[in-house]
């Protein structure tokens, strides 16, 4: 617990954490100080001047809150006429050369300029002269599109590339009101985290080519999720929408703050994995090449499950799913493997967020005692007559080819969210919900236990994998069964409260 400091805001005594600047310290107690350029991950720059606050008896009497640490007895003024006038004036300056093209701007609805205009400005423009003309629709690389006229020159994007990725592709060139963000010719954005500048941009100056013009921000439902792109388990927002007469579709992933996992950012690869949630899905159950009802397909699976079956678990499945599948294998006497070497891209990771292991819950396999070794898998496969894959993409990154011959000789069953090579080989295929459509718990590469809830609700929901396991004969047939089972098998999780639901607060990850 940080040391607390007593100071005054608008004459009222408050207690805030020491060691923070005024913006961060006051945010915790529900007091907003408007700002454009300050960002906790990028530090204080002090260029926007929106966070100027009064200090009673202070020398100087006017300070940028972003650069002012809390101090005992400090008398901070936020509601004086002088401060309100400054906030109003700064907004006027920010807007005189702004195109005010909100109707065609992607940021509309989640734009700091818009919000602050409503809170602090709210007057007609007094600018009667032509505005400064700058660049539009500039391709900055990595799918980032820049609009120089909308930019407020807060330099968050520039600081991100210099301080965080240390790739420095962006700069602010020129000076005076000709200043603008640019990339050097031939050296566009070229880093694996570039699209974070879109999230960092407080206005509509940085847009993502992927998201541009697809949805108005206010139609999106923002649900919390965990990225399944790799073993890091970055916390994300899943922004999705069910348009009239259509199905619930994801439009983007955005980073969600978790100091213990990913901070404020996510990688671009992970960000765009949402496409895979919308596309390439297995749409209908299939038995022997014919579409059928899921229940029928499930009965067909149940009929062949037995000691000569090998059940393959996915390292992407949640702990709950793994527990249910494991219980199923024990109930029907089938063999079990979590073999999934194909999910590992050796050397692809970096020393920040991106991991070699592209699966979300490999740690879960070992915690639940599921053997993932290749040797075991090969041995078991060679002596099995049926392979039932539970969403394990054996052919991911071409790694399944060596088993193709054997697979063609036996019966393959795919319980899967996505269509793929293995699914095409399968005589029975059953579609199941993918992670954005279900809830569950994961243990990331650093041993952090994280829970996610269902975000997307499809018009016709797919089977929940745990419930399907129940239909196939698993004694673990519901989420609560699964949690009980997990707590039994993994002692360190026994005391986690409220099931394994841990994402309610950002700071409650439990090391496994």
């Amino acid at each position: 617990m940080a040391e607390m400091v007593k100071l005054f805001v608008n004459g009222r005594e408050v207690e805030v954490e020491s060691g923070k600047n005024l913006i961060d310290a006051f945010k915790v107690i529900g007091i907003e100080i408007p700002h454009f350029c300050y960002h906790p991950a990028l530090g204080a720059d002090g260029n926007c001047r929106m966070c100027l606050v009064g200090i009673e008896d202070g020398r100087p009497p006017l300070v940028p809150a972003c650069k002012t640490p809390v101090a005992p007895g400090l008398k901070v003024q936020l509601d004086t006429e002088k401060i309100k006038k400054i906030q109003h004036d700064i907004m006027e300056f920010e807007l005189i050369n702004h195109p005010i093209d909100c109707p065609v701007c992607d940021q509309a609805g989640e734009c700091t300029l818009q919000d602050y205009y409503m809170s602090y400005d709210l007057q007609d423009s007094r600018m009667t002269e032509p505005v400064v003309v700058k660049g539009k629709r500039m391709d900055f690389g990595c799918g980032v599109v820049h609009d120089q006229e909308r930019c407020v020159l807060c330099a968050r994007c520039v600081r991100f590339t210099r301080l965080i990725t240390k790739t420095g592709e962006l700069g602010i060139v020129n000076r005076s009101d000709e200043a603008r963000v640019e990339t050097f010719p031939g050296r566009p954005l070229n880093n694996r985290y570039a699209v974070n500048v879109v999230d960092l941009c407080p206005v509509g100056a940085m847009t993502s080519r992927d998201f541009r013009f697809t949805q108005r921000a206010w139609f999106l439902t923002r649900d919390k999720g965990i990225c399944h792109g790799c073993a890091k388990g970055c916390n994300i927002y899943i922004d999705h929408n069910r348009e009239k007469y259509k199905d619930d579709v994801i439009y983007r992933f955005r980073p969600r703050l978790n100091e213990q996992v990913n901070g404020y950012f996510i990688c671009d690869e992970g960000r765009f994995t949402y496409h895979a949630e919308n596309e390439g899905r297995l749409m209908a159950a299939r038995v022997d090449g014919k579409d059928c009802l899921g229940d029928y397909a499930a009965q067909s699976v149940r009929a062949v499950l037995g000691p000569k079956s090998l059940i393959l678990v996915s390292p992407d499945s949640s702990l709950e799913q793994m527990a249910a599948i494991k219980a199923l294998s024990e109930a029907v006497g089938a063999r079990l493997s979590g073999y999934s070497e194909g999910y590992i891209k050796e050397g692809d990771g970096d020393n920040w967020l991106i991991q070699d292991d592209k699966s979300a819950n490999r740690a879960g396999l070992s915690l639940l005692g599921i053997d993932a070794g290749k040797e075991t898998f090969t041995r078991l496969l060679n002596s099995s007559e049926v392979l039932v894959s539970f969403d394990n993409d054996l052919f991911i990154h071409d790694t399944g080819s060596e088993f193709r011959q054997r697979l063609e000789a036996i019966k393959v069953i795919a319980v899967t969210s996505h269509d793929g090579i293995l699914t095409k080989m399968a005589s029975i295929a059953i579609p199941v919900a993918s992670y954005s459509e279900s809830s569950g718990s994961l243990v990331n590469i650093d041993g952090m236990l994280q829970h996610f809830d269902r975000a997307v609700q499809k018009n016709t929901p797919y089977f929940d994998m745990v419930e399907l396991c129940g239909m196939l004969g698993s004694p673990v047939a519901t989420a609560s069964d699964a949690v009980n089972e997990i707590k039994k098998v993994i002692p360190s999780f026994a005391n986690v409260e409220g099931g394994l639901k841990l994402t309610a607060s950002e700071a409650t990850n439990v090391p496994a």
């Binding site: 204080a44 002090g46 260029n47 926007c48 001047r49 929106m50 100027l52 006017l62 940028p64 650069k67 006038k85 400054i86 004036d89 700064i90 006027e92 300056f93 920010e94 005189i96 050369n97 007094r126 600018m127 009667t128 002269e129 032509p130 400064v132 407020v152 020159l153 602010i172 020129n174 000076r175 005076s176 009101d177 000709e178 200043a179």
Partner: protein, 426 residues
């Protein structure tokens, strides 16, 4: 009225050359200097009352004493030779005519503050000046006045000339530091002050060329001798630049405290071609304007200027005769400050351009009374809301012109109206 302390060698032929300079006392104070304790040097400068000659007038010795003690970091001196404020043209005389005076001053300052690496930041436009200065530095190195053992004493000092490249803002001391560090000249928020965290994050003293060049006299003759010139609170002499509509424009070394009108009359020969005096800009383009009436009681020192709601500034006096169109003058200044805004802080970056656009609108005779009021309001809205005072350097004088010569702005607005009326009547 003129005195020759800083300018003693300005009219001596080839005084920029070491040999000639030495014949006239250059580097003759070093033995005395190195016999003193560094702290005694600072004390002497403090008691001389020497104030920073860059424009702000902050006491030089006091500035030095802000350096933190006992830090395990190098201390830097940067000499501000950016001299970019319109109407300021004093330091370059030192650079060209007596560069060894500056180098000797640098040695004195560095010894006092414990600095072994000094940088001279010189504006890029000073092409011939930078050559002259570099030649003098090279000579000083050859003669052993710079380098491993300064003047044979156990003191190492390197001096490097760093050239600017066309940015007024680099005269602001933290922008200057950024520029040396290879960045855009964008001022830093203070605190931390450069004396604590300056160049390369180390304690740094930034002094103007003229300030540094005043040191040899003070060391040679003592603080008391220096204080015999000038006023009690503004002691010493200053290189004043007088330009604009005067008979004899030029650079003159004068003690502080002289009446401004007398100086214009007696030193600069009065208003050009016998015209009437309209106004005086007392200390560079950023200082609020004085009317002839205001000027009657103004003397050339920091206190008198402040009492008259203007500033001593850089000592660049501009005389405006009766023919000057104040609105056009404001356009000229607004264009300068808009051009030079570093683009960092919102009010300055966006606001100075707006001011310029409104002034141009008024000059096109498209302005309204509301535009004049808007100009006044914008000055208030911009000023003191920014990291540095560049914006104030524009708004303070612009406000003063709007206050004292509002009728000229109104004439443009009204002329527009009456011209339209004429057309209708015709």
């Amino acid at each position: 009225m003129e005195v020759k302390i800083l300018s003693a060698k300005f009219n001596i032929k080839d005084a920029h050359k070491l040999e000639v300079a030495r014949q006239h006392g250059a580097y003759s104070r070093l033995d005395k200097l190195f016999a003193m304790e560094p702290v005694a040097v600072t004390e002497e400068v403090k008691s001389s009352g020497l104030r920073g000659r860059g424009g702000a007038g902050f006491p030089a010795g006091l500035k030095w004493s802000f350096l933190p003690k006992g830090l395990n970091k190098p201390v830097y001196l940067t000499v501000n030779s950016d001299e970019s404020e319109p109407a300021t043209f004093k330091d370059r005389f030192i650079l060209v005519r007596d560069p060894h005076l500056l180098i000797e001053g640098i040695i004195i300052c560095c010894y006092a503050i414990g600095c072994h690496d000094a940088y001279i930041y010189i504006r890029g436009e000073y092409t011939t000046q930078v050559k002259a200065l570099q030649a003098a530095i090279d000579e000083a190195y050859s003669a052993g006045f710079l380098g491993e053992k300064v003047g044979g004493h156990d003191f190492k000092l390197d001096v490097t000339v760093h050239r600017g490249a066309g940015a007024y803002i680099c005269g602001e001391e933290t922008a200057l530091l950024e520029s040396i560090e290879g960045k855009k000249g964008q001022p830093r928020s203070k605190p931390p002050f450069p004396a604590v965290e300056g160049l390369y994050g180390c304690p740094t003293i930034i002094n103007n060329v003229q300030t540094i060049a005043s040191l040899p006299y003070i060391i040679e003759n003592g603080a008391e001798a220096y204080k015999q010139y000038g006023t009690e609170k503004s002691p010493g002499t200053h290189l004043f630049g007088i330009s604009g509509h005067v008979q004899k424009p030029g650079m003159y070394e004068l003690p502080l405290g002289l009446p401004i009108l007398e100086v214009i009359e007696k030193v600069a020969g009065g208003v050009l071609n016998g015209k009437k005096l309209k106004a005086i800009i007392p200390g560079g383009s950023s200082t609020p304007v004085l009317t002839p009436e205001d000027a009657k009681t103004v003397t050339l020192d920091y206190e008198s200027m402040a009492a008259h709601k203007t500033m001593f500034g850089s000592g660049g006096i501009v005389v405006l005769d009766e023919t000057v169109d104040i609105v056009k003058l404001v356009e000229n200044l607004a264009q300068f400050y808009h051009h030079e805004s570093c683009g960092q802080c919102t009010p300055c970056r966006e606001g100075l351009g707006w001011i310029l656009k409104i002034v141009k609108k008024i000059l096109r005779r498209e302005g309204t009374m509301g535009d004049i009021d808007l100009l006044v309001e914008l000055c208030d809205n911009i000023e003191m809301k920014t990291v540095c005072v560049l914006s104030a350097a524009c708004t303070m004088p612009v406000r003063s012109y709007l206050n004292k010569f509002r009728h000229e702005f109104e004439a443009y607005v009204n002329q527009g109206t009456s011209a339209q009326t004429d057309v209708k009547q015709g």
